[in-house]
Symmetry: C2
Subunit: 219 residues, 2 copies
Amino acid sequence: MAKNAAVSLSVIKRLPRYYRFLGDLLQNGIHRISSKELAEIMNLTASQIRQDLNCFGGFGQQGYGYNVAALHSEIANILGLDSGFKTILLGAGNLGRAITTHMNFDEQGFHLVGVFDSSAQVVGTTVRDFVVQHTDALATFCGEYQPVAAILCVPKESATELVPKLIEYGVKAFWNFSHFDINAAQYPNVAVENVHLGDSMMTLSYQVKELISPTPKNQ
Amino acid sequence: MAKNAAVSLSVIKRLPRYYRFLGDLLQNGIHRISSKELAEIMNLTASQIRQDLNCFGGFGQQGYGYNVAALHSEIANILGLDSGFKTILLGAGNLGRAITTHMNFDEQGFHLVGVFDSSAQVVGTTVRDFVVQHTDALATFCGEYQPVAAILCVPKESATELVPKLIEYGVKAFWNFSHFDINAAQYPNVAVENVHLGDSMMTLSYQVKELISPTPKNQ
């Protein structure tokens, strides 16, 4: 049924949003929706939706619309949300602790297996149900548990040091909150999602500035 | 000097990354850099860099390169990083507390003036130097302090309720971590930066899945 081989990354990046909206519909007991109705809720055009979802074939039927549950579960399947990829988190400061407690790892493809920090004050404390371990223990831990993903909530300097080591230990994916830009060209077989919160805030600053006192247009 | 009137949002979105790299160079005592060297560090091409930075005119000189401090400060200026836009944060759970303590608001255009929550357990507790106030106090607070930006670390349902109210109270910008998609079409005079951490994680899940067991290519 699914003909998802040719799906582009730009479509993939839109799938989580479809998944969220379809999940909301299911929660509200809605099991069938037309592309027009879905378009309205999601602030897209019906033709955009048909184009995106046609990549996966067979879920929309003329005169019936989409089967919400089937589409929701097919998207979960494409994204690999039940994969439970073993994951470690590095940096148990404020942000790392928030990520550890806030995210629903297991519903989003990942399974957290360990939390690490290099600070003596933090090692040994508990976050959720994890006792924070020292980063010196990473090699042994990775040998034993073989985590495939790492979440970086560490300063830039630590990330610069840790990334090559973690790749050597078998880590294949980084969810990167550090200011270190992982060079995709240097590590072609590694998946990276960068979340630069500061960049996002600075972009918002520009937008507010332009709203309040727009830069004069050139002639 | 600056001819930034015609700068597109796609260039603007790249500026924070330039700003970070230039800041690193300054910290390392580097005051002058060629577009070729900067390109190498940032994993871009020299021509991309020249194209981006030419929008702001006059910082690159043939045979000299860029004046790092001047370019750094011009980008700060364009992004409005010294604006100190008065900002409130809503939702003092794990994520809200992490954002409050983790972000350098004042270096990124914003100045935090209040933290709010609707839960009786959280109201009255302290985050950084803020006593968490009840969301019922928002109207009065906004009347008095006139915050221009709001950070949403609340569940979707609360965000759905809070956004129209906050706009009525004069808020013009949202840094949105909630699952509520603020409809830009509905509020044309409002700036929004959405940070959907779950979407980012799901996109990474897809990438890991494709790395480990690629979807077979269609004939």
